[in-house]
Symmetry: C3
Subunit: 369 residues, 3 copies
């Protein structure tokens, strides 16, 4: 596919300089760019690469002297990554999924697919499923009985959509995502060790034999519009009501949402995040990679948690969190500073003791761990 530099500028709403008719076939790092590539140099630090590559056009930082790089045209991007969103959309060829329904797909006669559906081989679509127009469903996907999916869905290889799951428009599901597995909910006949510990902060009575009774998941999963699900991510069904994911929320690879979790709108949950059962996540929350969130707590709107944080208690709206246990980022930075000085602090206390003729430090190695 080839577009002109002028068409790109118009699509991005970006300022153009030079030859609007230049044909462009893709985007590239400046030094690796070919003649038909748009060199991406939205920051002056990438300027040097432009002349190493073959590009005749570039996307540059505002005010860049484009002629000095020997270019024949340029686009100026005041916010580079935002321009990349538009640009990458233009050049993404998307996955190849043949139009029509593959003769090797199994579609239940009671399922309804909207117009212009593309369904790949070895797909299974169950009874009563309803899918909106222009769905693109790659090979090996399964969509179980009674699921409903909106318009313009892109469902990639091997995705599993469970029974009675409801999903809005413009879903993107990466390979292997599982929506609607059963919740992980088990109960013992008598009070279990975990229940005792939660009540007593760690004390246990006599330990008894215990085995687990399964709480089946009668609820399903409800997902809003414009949601993306990462590869091999998992969202469990609710116990009675549905697990919920709001509009515009994006899940990265290998994210886990437990049963009854409610995630608000426009959140980003990075890879390997785990949210335990019945927890409520607000709107516009950003959780870095491998963040964990305990069960039955509340994370307020606009919370941002750094990678690896473990959120063990309610987090108020707008808080920026880091650490295990997660604390305010300021406090975490302060604490890390103090920890770097801890060995020295102990020495200073020993010096004070020596000065006063005390011997408090001796024999303290037993510790309290």
């Amino acid at each position: 596919m080839t577009v002109t530099l002028g068409e790109i500028a118009a699509a991005l709403g970006a300022e153009l300089a030079g030859d609007a008719s230049l044909p462009i076939r893709g985007a590239s790092e400046p030094s690796a760019a070919g003649e038909l590539d748009l060199a991406l140099a939205m920051d002056p630090k990438y300027a040097a690469g432009i002349t190493q590559g073959q590009a005749r056009a570039a996307m540059l930082w505002p005010g860049a002297d484009w002629r000095s790089f020997g270019l024949r045209g340029a686009i100026f991007a005041p916010r580079g990554r935002l321009a990349m969103a538009g640009l990458s959309r233009i050049f993404d060829p998307g996955p190849v999924i043949q139009p029509g329904i593959s003769p090797l797909a199994v579609v239940d006669p009671t399922a309804e697919l909207g117009e212009a559906a593309a369904v790949g081989p070895f797909v299974v679509i169950g009874p009563g499923v309803r899918i909106g127009p222009r769905a693109r469903i790659a090979s090996h996907v399964s969509i179980a009985e009674g699921a409903r999916i909106g318009a313009d869905a892109l469902i990639l290889q091997g995705v599993r959509i469970g029974a009675r799951v409801v999903i809005g428009d413009r879903l993107i599901a990466q390979p292997g995502a599982v929506v609607g597995a059963d919740g992980f909910a088990f109960v013992t006949a008598e009070k279990s060790g975990v229940e005792q510990i939660r009540e007593t902060l760690g004390k246990r009575e006599e330990i008894r034999d215990q085995s687990w009774h399964r709480i089946h998941s009668l609820g399903s999963v409800t997902i809003g519009d414009d949601v993306e699900l990462g590869a091999n991510s998992c969202i469990d069904r609710g116990t009675v009501r549905d697990t919920e994911v709001g509009n515009g929320t994006k899940l990265d690879n290998l994210v886990h949402l437990g049963h009854n979790v409610r995630v608000g709108r426009d959140c980003l949950l990075c890879a390997l995040v785990g949210v335990a059962g019945s927890t409520r996540i607000g709107d516009r929350v950003v959780l870095g990679g491998q963040v964990g969130v305990s069960d039955n707590i509340f994370v307020g709107d606009d919370v941002i948690a750094g990678g690896g944080s473990k959120i063990l208690t309610n987090a108020p709206k707008g808080r920026v969190l880091l650490g295990y246990p997660a604390m305010k980022m300021d406090s975490h930075i302060e604490l890390q500073k103090a920890l770097r000085r801890l060995t020295r602090l102990a020495q200073r206390v020993a010096e004070l003791e020596a000065r006063l003729g005390l011997a408090g430090g001796s024999g303290s190695d037993g510790g309290d761990g």
Copy 2:
């Protein structure tokens, strides 16, 4: 499916009040309940919702004044979650898997399936596989050569069972679970950096080039009865003997068990738990979400570890653990308290130094990190 309130009470062994003949079709949160739903209000805090919804019957806490909510019947649950186990079992419709063996499944002629098997489309069952009666196997599952699975298995979409894996009765495997991938075991020709560090606690000799020789997994995986495997969870084969999971143990989504691991009976391993190779986990152990357990260690019976804990050394029987590195929960709470006071402690030491005319604090910023 409709049952009567009296039938539910009898199935749960629970006390009944009012009209035993009331028809019930499902369970619901009180405020969202329809006429044929059983409202779930096992705690007084949910009482207000009952009159907001349409339910004519409810499951209530013991001693609740059921008539005051305008109900026509009630069941009393002294242990609400346990009652939910029974109740949810009654109302779970289960996944739709057509009876019989799909003509689109590939079942090796030497495989043996027990009576009343249901096998979905695009399933592959290899040579010499033996599966007990009443198996329900959803679409896209593969079961490799020589695997043996007991009675009443429920194996959901896209599950992978490897060669010679042995599994007991009543398996439930959620979509995408992988049992019997090869272990992650590699060795260098000379002593590797990791080996040096383990011997010296961090010191390394000269760093040499090293490449990895693969140790193939000759063992398989043996799993007991009543085990549940979460979506996209992974259990690796053993090197020589089998990796083992005991009766009644439940794995949540995205759990990893490395090669040669042995997990006892009636354990709960929550989402994203990772257990490294050759580690032994006792019976009735509960590991919260994202817990990690080092290789070649021992976690005793009845250990409970809070979410995100990293267990790096042997954990004695019955211990309650938290933190990274995991320590006794008491110690962890104590430590967190001390850490919250650490900046203040440093100030106090500085004040003491000032009082004594010492200057120990100055120039200490270099730290020891």
Copy 3:
């Protein structure tokens, strides 16, 4: 399959004693060994088991008195695990994948498979795919348009290879691995909360509504020779250039590599490791289970990070890391020691204050967290 003891010794280049003609059919722990098994006792602590089992031959530590165990032959392994690599290779039967291309596979007519390919049922191979000789591709695999894979690939059940992915020779991909899902890259129209926090280390301006624009992944994934991918592991496509994995690198189960990540050669990334976008990992790096690495940083050659470490900043070549945030292993051990003494340290400061008539400790409970 049966080989002789002498053949095994020759294959391993190991010293042999006794009857070279003994037939051997497998390897076993000493106490469980049958007559045709080679008992594995490369350490004297396993010696006792030999006489409990039935083995007539064993692999022993150098200098062992093999006759004293009643054996008829023995092999001596100066480096036991290295010998296991060779031995396990001899006895690994490998997965059963029927030769030839299954009539139930969908192979695009423009795809090219090398000689002696074995392709299982329900495999989908897209347009323009090129795969080298002797590929073994198990059931349910999908390989998308334009992907290129070298010689001797072993691709197990349900693996997903995305469009235009390039992989070298001798790939081993465990079930459910996903190569080439889209990157997790989103941008807001205005500066987002995360961007503010990165600039200000935690301070935020007024919180605004924000929604996410998707940055499509135009790059693909390039993987070298001799790479192994764990079950349900995920490698995302790059944004403009390819995400890269070097020769000889091994990924364990459930590992995540974000977009644009570059991993060098001969690395080991253990289960549940997450590497965030655009980070560069050097050669021979070993990351323990559940290690996290922040985005846009650099981890030098030969770095080793213990399980659960969170690497938040650049790590120089050769460093040994532990903790969250990851620090030098020495420092981490030192810090843990100091933390075990922290409660006692606070008491000592209180005693000093008492001695000097100060009251600094009182009222300090408010803490700084």
